[in-house]
Amino acid sequence: MNNLFDIKKAYYLFLLIRRSEEKIIELYNTDKIKSPVHLSIGQEAIAVGVSLALSESDIIFSNYRGHAHFIAREANLDKMWAELYGKSRGTARGKGGSMHLNDYEKNFIPTSAIVSTAVPEAVGYAFALKYKKQEGTVVCYHGDGATDEGVFWESLNFASLHSLPIIFICENNKYAIYSHQNTRSLNNPIVDRAKAFGVSSIRISGNKTKNFFDATSDCIKQIKKKSQPFLLECMTTRWRDHVGITIPELSKAEFEEIENAKNNDDLVELEKQLPEDDVLIINKKVTTEIENAINFAESSNFPEESELYDNVLA
């Protein structure tokens, strides 16, 4: 648990996510990455703010839009890139792709590409922590669309019933693919629903890293005192299409929202708060790390036919 917001680290992680995904965009048309990619550009502040508040013993559940969560957790970037390339040194030895990242050492659980489907798993993990009287909090990232699924509410009910140590991080970018929240539910804030299911919830507007950090730190502090679930509804904006690298076909109002978000890019704000030297060093570090990761991916082999049947059963 961390109480002090480390701007330098925040900037570094934020930049590492942003530049990694920009690199994906740059490379995508080469067809080297034959994997559906769900970019987080615009939403990075959540992953960074949340991750900075966590400890090693905390557990991360994410989803198909997982690059930011993975990188912010300081999970293995080389392996992530190798996985995007379908190479055998990838996080799933090339068999999972972008939608199924994982890093055992970082307690970053393999992600699911079926919406809301890992939410009960996260709750089950939190149950196990309590069962084993083990330290740690589970963090479960999910989208606003995920709350449309019944299993989401079943999961919250169980988490509150058993007072489990879990924070649901709802990344509310207002869209499920092209479907705006208003077309999916009637003006009922997710936080209100979560409260009715016994989960303390707050909505965090503004898409600022520090705010997400503070809220998460606060939850962790409270969980350490008394095991219980929280939900943070993190308002954000996705700048790119749901999947792939293109710009979404949206209405004018929606475009303006994105433009607005770009003008309030927290990456820029964080940068402003750092000495120029630090910024330079961090930028260099990020560039090198990404270059190395891409080299790692490029130089790795594809898995052999003999691996086809590996890891189906224990």
Partner: protein, 349 residues
């Protein structure tokens, strides 16, 4: 897009669109719903702008609530509407199994025929561009297993149009299986409406040496394999059952009684799968038939292209297996065949 000519060449996706729009124009009880049906892509164009043409009540997006949305379709069908529920991937039907199996397939039975459930559930099988473990499953056998459901998996633009119209007009719940590697395939399609019959298969190519039965996309590869086999003097008969439940066992039995050899090319896992059923029917009803099957290996689908190519049966290994069954040279290595729909496919999904 609605100009009616006598016939024309359109693709599989367009044929689906045509079936839907023509049927919606005919019967105002038909509506189309599902995630993204009214989005700019309109599910490979198959539902594009239907909401503009027929209004938002008759073509609408839904919350991600597959379980309830299936029940809602069933309830609307009980009230006399004819819903078409569209899924981007067949894998998502796993969220709907309770409604499909416990409800849709049984309501007619428990109401002694007073109610029926004219619901069409469209679902696309995914493949390519790293679909992987959770976006590539072909679960037809689940639905074939359940009495009270009809299941159909057309392969050609002609059959997909006629099959969808038949499904919409049918008074039973129908699982309508599409394949995303087929949407761009073109073919001759009558401009008028027409139905193809449930329970009727089609011999796509005649031959005396071996019977090859495919399903959905594997029919395409079976035809390519037949071309390869021709090159080594083997005449394969290729059968597309189209309708999986009811299934045209007769057309297969007749063929194998002639060829004495059956190779089923599954488009899914084999255990308790489509291929198991076809072979079991032949084994219990015909005499002395040499039977073999090909299908997905017993593993989830890998995303990396280097392994995905070993996951799916392909024209070469179909041809090789068939040739062996016909006593051909087991060392034969058929030439590479381009699966244009697969190599030309670019993501991002």
């Amino acid at each position: 897009m609605d100009k009616i000519l006598d016939k024309k060449v359109i693709n599989y996706g367009e044929a689906i669109y045509e079936a839907i729009t023509q049927e919606m124009a005919r019967d105002e009880n038909i509506f189309v719903y599902g995630l993204g049906v009214d989005d700019p892509k309109g599910h490979y164009g198959t539902t594009k702008d239907l909401h503009k043409k027929y209004g938002k009540l008759r073509s609408f997006d839904t919350p991600l609530s597959e379980d309830a949305m299936t029940g809602i379709g069933i309830g609307a069908a009980l009230a006399g509407l004819r819903p078409i529920y569209v899924h981007q991937r067949m894998d998502f039907l796993l969220l709907c199994m309770n409604q499909i199996v416990n409800m849709a397939s049984k309501i007619r039975y428990i109401s002694s025929g007073e109610h029926s459930v004219p619901l069409v559930i469209r679902a696309a099988i995914g493949r390519s561009w790293g679909q992987g473990a959770q976006h590539s499953q072909a679960l037809q056998s689940f639905f074939m297993h359940i009495p009270g459901l009809k299941v159909i998996a057309p392969t050609t633009p002609h059959d997909v149009k006629g099959g969808l119209i038949a499904s919409i007009r049918d008074n039973n719940p129908v699982i309508f299986i599409e394949h995303r590697m087929l949407y761009k395939n073109a073919g001759y399609v009558p401009s008028d409406t027409y139905e193809i019959k449930f329970g009727k298969g089609r011999v796509l190519r005649e031959g005396n040496d071996i019977t090859i039965v495919g399903v959905s996309h594997s029919v395409e590869d079976s035809l390519r394999a037949a071309d390869l086999l021709k090159g080594v003097g083997v005449n394969a008969e290729v059968i597309d059952p189209i309708s999986l439940s009811p299934i045209d066992n007769e057309i297969i039995r007749d063929s194998v009684n002639k060829t004495k050899k059956l190779l089923v090319v599954d488009n899914g896992w084999m255990k308790c799968g489509f291929s198991a059923e076809i072979i079991a029917d032949v084994a219990t009803n015909c005499e002395s038939i040499l039977c073999q099957r090909l299908g997905f290996p017993e593993t989830p689908c890998p995303t990396t292209p280097s392994l995905e190519k070993h996951f799916y049966p392909n024209p070469q290994n179909i041809a090789k297996k068939a040739n062996e069954m016909c006593g051909g040279d087991s060392e034969w290595n058929p030439p590479e065949v381009v699966q244009h729909e697969i190599v030309s496919f670019k993501g991002p999904f």
